[in-house]
């Protein structure tokens, strides 16, 4: 997984055997002024960071245990290096699930997913890491391991410090242990795929608006551009992926509604049972060959603006020699684009896309790009107006800035 061009590398590598050893490693690094890059499964090596090489790569590979699984409480406590797949497998025997569907579940660790705040299409109904993490143990740069939250599903004792670490890109501490809320596995599921040949995609928005005005409870409303539709479904045009998870009668009823409301010109395909899992597994493993510049962009907007974001990607691709695979969730506001092509073209594409997003009050950040590319156009876009607060938090928690220097917003 370790790639020369992606940066975020270090001279030395350690893989502590215990949380205490992680803390001790940080304490020593802090004393000697060594910089540290925490790493889980290594799937986010190209995410964030415009600086040079660090002193130490600190892996959580040896911290992969399930500490405590309490099916009756629907909670699980695991070490940060456990992969998402490990957790999925651990809770399946009690018909439960961890309601997170990030990319590369077999490699991505729970610590990394939380630090990078990765999420997938199902966040529409189930939420993202900030909705599922109820407790953390974090090793701080001064060598202390501090707990936040707890093991209960409702907790307002003190500040909700869990939130600070979710999406902090490992700049405030190294997560060593995580407690998550689980859900029961749905009893049944299906996925309605509507494909809209190019020219018919204007029917998507009225369809979604109508669907959202019913009592239907879709788990995903993911919209894909033609390239991604072709790559994943081998079909032409835009597509809308509508997943239902519920008891069987409720799934069938919702599926029937979609069947009765297929927009003119659109085509419906229905996936059932394991086909649905298989599709989402393929979706979570989507990637493009890396012989040219490959860049992943994450965009945040209001829910329905996602449709514009996906269409923006197609429009901005038109006069450039690029491959752009794009999707976004009309019920959760996150869109993503995977872009491949000659560096200059990718660069101007991302800059134009970022401009559109920011003008709409949203953002476009790079979640994967070569180091040189990140240095040229920046990972995080325009600094927020409240940047001094972010800087203040960093100074309090990691005063010597040994953790992931320059990995985060505004060079934090």
């Amino acid at each position: 997984m370790h790639n020369q061009t992606l940066g975020n590398r270090a001279r030395d590598y350690v893989s502590p055997e215990s949380p205490e050893e992680v803390a001790e490693t940080l304490r020593q690094a802090n004393e000697t002024g060594q910089t540290v890059i925490p790493v889980g499964g290594g799937t986010k090596q190209g995410f964030g960071g415009e600086g040079g090489e660090a002193d130490l790569l600190l892996s959580t590979a040896n911290l992969a245990e399930v500490i405590e699984y309490s099916p009756g409480d629907m909670t699980i406590t695991v070490q940060a290096g456990a992969t998402i797949q490990t957790i999925i497998d651990a809770v399946r025997e009690h018909n439960q699930m961890v309601p997170l569907d990030p990319s590369f579940p077999a490699q991505a660790t729970i610590g990394g997913v939380i630090a990078a705040n990765d999420s997938g299409p199902k966040r529409m109904l189930y939420g993202s890491a900030r909705d599922h993490v109820i407790g953390l143990h974090v090793a701080h740069s001064n060598g202390e391991i501090l707990r936040s939250g707890g093991k209960v599903v409702k907790n307002v004792a003190g500040y909700d410090m869990n939130k600070l670490f979710i999406g902090s890109m490992g700049t405030l501490g190294v997560i060593t242990e995580v407690t998550l809320k689980l859900r029961p596995l749905p009893k049944d599921q299906s996925m309605c795929v509507l494909t809209f040949p190019e020219g018919v995609e204007s029917a998507v928005k009225p369809f979604i608006t109508e669907l959202l005005d019913t009592h239907l409870e879709p788990v995903t409303l993911e919209y894909m551009n033609p390239s991604l539709t072709n790559a994943l479904l081998n079909k032409e045009g835009y597509s809308l992926l509508i997943t239902f998870e519920d008891v069987q009668k409720a799934v069938q009823y919702q599926e029937k509604w979609v069947y009765d409301h297929v927009p003119v010109g659109a085509e419906l395909t229905v996936f059932r049972e394991e086909e649905v899992d298989d599709f989402w597994r393929t979706f979570a493993h989507f990637s493009i060959d890396d012989d040219e510049t490959v860049v992943h962009v994450k965009m945040g907007s209001k829910n329905l603006q996602v449709l514009e974001r996906v269409e923006n990607c197609s429009r901005l691709q038109q006069w450039r020699d690029l491959q752009v695979f794009a999707h976004g969730g009309a019920g959760h506001g996150i869109s993503r684009a995977y872009v491949k092509g000659e560096e200059g073209a990718v660069q101007s594409f991302v800059q134009d896309l970022r401009k559109v997003c920011e003008e709409d009050g949203g953002y476009a950040i790079l979640t994967h790009a070569p180091l040189a590319f990140r240095k040229t156009i920046g990972v995080w876009g325009t600094k927020p107006s409240y940047f001094s607060l972010l800087e203040g938090i960093k100074k309090q928690l990691d005063p010597q800035a040994i953790l992931n220097p320059r990995r985060f917003v505004g060079g934090i």
Binding site: V152, V156, G158, V247, A250, Q305, G333, W380
Partner: protein, 483 residues
């Protein structure tokens, strides 16, 4: 001119004569919030009508180093809006407008003084509602809900306030106005998540964007009576283990049942019932029946005495009114009560309830239990009579002991009411000094001079700066706060 007179004059200059209270008789109402055992006299109460007015007031108070407390409806149950004495209360009740509703994107924007239930009432004609539903929802404000990260009966399925806040406008300690969130995963640390539940110590929220949800197509409510709290507890675990995600599971024990039956919303709970469960399932209509049937059969396996399903919305409404007014109903069987808010892993319910029964027996104070059984959030109601000497202190002590019973099984001291003044020292039951200190260092980024809701939410850590000096001079124990 005295400092107070100067402050009052300035507040009147900024806000107008009708927006400032400063005479002692006008301030009495503001001596406490919903937790009445602690009281303190504010210096003044001011009523800004806009973000700019809040900003102007805060800027001036900051410059003059006068501590201040944001306050909503004052329904908080932990003393979060109660002054220690000498603070200016910034009441947000005049900022009570619904600024925008965007049904397509499922968002609403409200001012902080907007009432929780009014939001649902305002969007119900379109089939939408706002999910967090604390029992005080008919009068509590959404700004206050954000400060406390309020929960409610339905957060088992739908989450608490923090899961529904999408954006905030915040006036910082120096009067600066910032907007955070607005779109999901906004780059930077999650300040929105940090501010939610910070009990007014990190800033004053002046506008809130919340998620609104489509009403479920159908909902069914069942009520089940048991001969023992254990049976009811096992039934709750059984329902969860069956893979049902109920919208709510609430429990009341025998004393609580006696209270609600003698108060204003009786529903005819059978005499002598040891426990009642109120269970609700919602979602797609065709899927509801089998879930209710499954819940009924789980209850039957756990010796349910009687179980009934609400016939219509009216009956459902009456059941919920009975449950949601349970705290106040204790007035029918006791001159005073103190409500606690511990949380436990739900699998430890019967064990902890037995422990609480022991505490009740030892102390001689009756304890009624009303709680969100599905998520393990207990509300022991400690019944006492403040006219009996020492009984208020005893009740407070019993309250703390119930929290110890919760933390002993890995639980928390508060699930939705907040720490405020009441549970500051109890924070030590869940966090080490270092962990408390770290939270205070985060506070210092937003609230460097501790003017924003001065000294709330955290005990003084044994290791913080001033105290370290005190340790050197042999005065380490001055940090023990009065409760």
């Amino acid at each position: 001119m005295t400092e107070k007179a100067e402050m009052v004059e300035e507040m009147i200059r900024q806000l107008g004569d009708d927006a400032v209270l400063h005479r002692k008789e006008d301030l009495l109402t503001y001596e406490c919030d919903g937790l009445t055992v602690y009281r303190g006299m504010p210096l003044a109460v001011v009523f800004p009508s806009s973000t700019e007015e809040v900003s102007g007031v805060v800027k001036w108070l900051h410059e003059h180093e006068i501590p201040f407390i944001p306050r909503g409806a004052g329904t908080g149950l932990s003393g979060g809006a109660t002054p220690f004495g000498g603070e200016v209360i910034i009441s947000l009740v005049r900022m009570k407008r619904l600024l925008d509703v965007d049904y397509d994107n499922r968002e609403a924007v409200v001012q902080p003084g907007y009432i929780n239930l009014t939001l649902t009432n305002s969007i119900t004609h379109k089939g939408f509602y706002y999910a967090p539903d604390p029992s005080s929802q008919a009068c509590c404000t959404i700004g206050g809900n954000v400060a406390e990260n309020a929960g409610g009966a339905h957060c088992l399925k739908y989450g608490v306030t923090t899961n529904h806040v999408l954006g905030l406008e915040v006036v910082l300690h120096n009067g600066e106005i910032v907007e955070i969130g607005g779109v999901p995963d906004a780059p930077g640390y999650d300040l929105m998540g940090l501010v939610t539940g910070s009990e007014g110590t990190l800033g004053i929220v002046t506008s809130i964007t919340v998620r609104i949800l489509k009403n479920p197509e159908a909902e069914e409510t069942a009520m089940a009576y048991f001969d023992s709290v254990e049976d009811a507890s096992y039934a709750v675990s059984g329902i969860i283990a069956a893979g049902i995600v109920p919208a709510a599971i609430e429990m009341m024990d025998e004393i609580a049942i006696q209270g609600v039956e003698r108060a204003t919303n009786p529903v005819g709970h059978p005499e002598g019932s040891k426990a009642v469960l109120i269970m609700e399932v919602d979602g797609i209509a065709t899927g509801i029946e089998e879930q209710i049937e499954e819940m009924v059969s789980v209850c039957e396996r756990h010796n349910v005495v009687d179980i009934k399903v609400a016939k219509n919305d009216r009956e459902r409404g009456r059941w919920w009114a009975n449950r949601k007014t349970a705290f106040g109903a204790m007035g029918a069987i006791s001159p005073a009560y103190l409500v606690q808010d511990g949380v436990i892993p739900r699998s430890r319910l019967s064990e902890v309830l037995a422990h609480i029964a022991d505490i009740s027996a030892e102390s001689g104070l009756r304890i009624a239990n009303v709680f969100h059984a599905g998520d393990g959030n207990l509300h022991p109601l400690i019944l006492f009579d403040a006219r009996n000497e020492g009984e208020t202190d005893l009740a407070l002590d019993v309250g703390s002991r119930t929290l110890e019973a919760c933390t002993a099984v890995g639980g928390s001291i508060t699930g939705e009411h907040g720490v405020g003044i009441e549970k500051k020292e109890d924070m030590r039951l869940v966090f080490s000094d270092e962990e408390i200190e770290r939270q205070i260092t985060v506070r210092s980024v937003f609230n460097p001079h501790n003017l924003l809701n001065l000294d709330k939410q955290f005990p003084k850590p044994a290791r913080c700066g001033e105290v370290k000096q005190a340790v050197g001079s042999g005065e380490a124990h001055q940090v023990a706060e009065q409760r």
